[in-house]
C-alpha cells in the first residue's frame, strides 16, 4: 500500500490517509479482506504520529471501508457492501462537481458538455474493454 503524505497543501494528515485508503479500496487496488499495516508500522513508514494513523483507521472503520477483526488487525471491508458503493459514488460525485464547475467557468453549455462526455466515452471504449 503506497501512500503519499504532503505537508505543503494544508490538508490534515489523518484526512490524507483516509482519502487515499478510500480511493485505493474503491478502485480495488486494496482488495476486500486485505490486511492494512499495523498502526505503528504505517506510522514509522510514513513518518507521522501513530495517533494520527489511529485516528485515520477509526474514521475508515466508521465509514465502513475497513473493519477490525477480533482484537488484532484491520482489514478492508467487502466492497460489495452498500457503504463501499456509497463511497465510490461519492468519489465520482466530487469529480463531477468539479467538472461542472469548470464547464460553467469556461462557458461550456450543458448540451456541449454531455456531447463531449459521449465523445470521450466512445474514444475510450477500446481502453475500457482491456
Amino acid at each position: 500500500m503506497q501512500l503519499h503524505i504532503s505537508t505543503s497543501d494544508g490538508v490534515p494528515i489523518y484526512l490524507q490517509i483516509v482519502n487515499q485508503i478510500k480511493y485505493l479500496a474503491a478502485s480495488e487496488r486494496l482488495a476486500p479482506g486485505e490486511e492494512l499495516p499495523a498502526i505503528r508500522v504505517l506510522a514509522e513508514k510514513l513518518l507521522v504520529n501513530p495517533n494520527t494513523v489511529a485516528r485515520a483507521y477509526r474514521e475508515l472503520e466508521l465509514a465502513g471501508i475497513v473493519e477490525k477483526r477480533r482484537t488484532a488487525g484491520t482489514y478492508v471491508s467487502d466492497q460489495g457492501s452498500p457503504l463501499a458503493r456509497r463511497e465510490r459514488i461519492k468519489i465520482l460525485k466530487d469529480r463531477i462537481d468539479s467538472l461542472l464547475a469548470e464547464a460553467d467557468q469556461m462557458n461550456v453549455s450543458w448540451e456541449e458538455l454531455t456531447k463531449l462526455i459521449e465523445q470521450r466515452r466512445t474514444a475510450m471504449q477500446p481502453a475500457l474493454k482491456e
Binding site: 505537508t7 494544508g10 490538508v11 505503528r40 514509522e44 513518518l47 507521522v48 501513530p50 495517533n51 489511529a54
Partner: protein, 300 residues
C-alpha cells in the same frame, strides 16, 4: 498509544509563569506550559525565540527568576538525579566528549542511567551504522547526531527531549530522528518534547504545539484543533474598497479592490456568517499549513 490522549495522568512537564532574564534581555516572560503524558509536544519558534532557554529549565540547567518548573512532579533544580535519570536529551550542539570512542561513550553513558538497556543500545548502534572503534571527533555531522540519539534513547527514557534535532542534518538522518520520536511514543506512556523550526516535521509528528516568540508563548493547542480552526478565506465584495472590511476572527488580511484574503481563526461557520453580514461572497476557503499558521501568528 490507544490510551486517550491527552492522558488524564498528571502532566510530565509543567511550567508555571516562568520568567528568566539574561542581563537586560528577557529570554522567557511569564511562560506557562503543560506537557501531557504520552504524546509528542512540538515547541516552535524562530532563532532566539527562547526554545533552548525553555528546554534548559526543563532539564534543571537554569533556574527561573520567577515562577515554577515541575518535571515528573519534581523541581528539576532541586532533584537533578531524580529528574535527569528519567530524561533522554539531545542538544542542538550535540555536545559529546570528542576524545572518546563510540563504545567508550556507550559504557560511559550507561553508568549514569540505571535503566540503560545494553541490548537496545547495540541494536541502535548497528541500525545507525556506527563503528564502535571510531573516535567521536572523527564522526560526520550526521553520525555525531546519531551517536547523541543513541545515548539519549538507550535507557528508554520516560521523557525524550530534543532541541532542534534536525538542524543542519541531511534527510536520511532526519528520518532516523523522526523514526525515533515515533517509536518512543508508540511504546505506551512515553513522552517527547521537541523544539524545531522545521514546521513540516512538527506537523507530521506533534500531537500538541506551542508557538514561542520573543520569550512569550503565543499559543498552545492540539495540532488537530490548530488545523481545524485556522483557514484562509477569500471574500468577494459587491464593490471595490480601499481597505478590507473588518471580519470576526481575522488574524491577517491581504488583497485589493473587491477581493480580500483573510487568515482566520475560529469556527468555519462563524466566518461564513460574518462574511454574509457584510454582504460578501466566500469564493475561497482552504486549510492552512502549520507554516502559514505560524507566520500569521508571529506577524499578528
Amino acid at each position: 498509544m490507544n490510551a486517550p490522549y491527552p492522558s488524564l495522568a498528571p502532566p510530565i512537564v509543567e511550567l508555571h509563569r516562568v520568567t528568566r532574564r539574561f542581563g537586560a534581555t528577557t529570554a522567557l516572560e511569564d511562560v506557562s506550559l503543560t506537557v501531557p503524558r504520552g504524546g509528542v509536544f512540538g515547541l516552535i519558534g524562530g532563532n532566539g525565540a527562547g526554545k533552548t532557554t525553555l528546554i534548559k529549565h526543563v532539564l534543571g540547567l537554569l533556574k527561573p527568576h520567577a515562577g515554577a518548573v515541575r518535571v515528573f512532579g519534581l523541581d528539576p533544580v532541586e532533584h537533578p538525579v531524580g529528574v535527569l535519570g528519567r530524561i533522554g536529551y539531545l542538544s542542538e550542539e550535540r555536545d559529546l566528549p570528542d576524545w572518546m570512542r563510540v563504545n567508550e561513550l556507550m559504557r560511559y553513558t550507561q553508568a549514569f542511567f540505571p535503566h540503560w538497556d545494553p541490548g537496545y543500545a547495540e541494536e541502535l548502534r548497528e541500525a545507525f551504522d556506527l563503528d564502535p572503534r571510531a573516535k567521536i571527533k572523527s564522526l560526520s555531522r550526521g553520525q555525531r547526531a546519531r551517536c547523541g540519539l543513541l545515548a539519549a534513547l538507550a535507557h528508554r527514557p520516560e521523557l525524550l527531549v530534543l532541541d532542534e534535532p534536525s538542524s543542519g542534518l541531511d534527510p536520511v538522518v532526519r528520518r532516523d530522528i523522526l523514526g525515533a520520536i515515533i517509536r518512543t511514543i508508540a511504546d505506551e506512556g512515553r513522552t517527547v518534547l521537541f523544539s524545531s523550526h522545521l514546521l513540516d516535521e512538527v506537523e507530521r509528528v506533534a500531537d500538541q504545539v506551542a508557538i514561542i516568540h520573543q520569550g512569550r508563548i503565543l499559543l498552545t493547542a492540539p495540532m488537530e484543533e490548530l488545523k481545524q480552526t485556522h483557514r484562509r478565506v477569500t471574500l468577494r465584495l459587491e464593490q471595490a474598497v480601499d481597505a478590507p472590511p473588518a471580519l470576526v476572527g481575522a488574524i491577517a488580511c491581504s488583497g485589493e479592490g473587491a477581493e480580500w484574503t483573510y487568515i482566520c481563526s475560529g469556527e468555519g461557520a462563524q466566518v461564513r456568517r460574518a462574511a454574509e453580514a457584510i454582504g460578501a461572497a466566500v469564493v475561497g476557503d482552504d486549510a492552512l499549513t502549520l507554516d502559514e499558521i505560524y507566520v500569521s501568528r508571529v506577524q499578528a
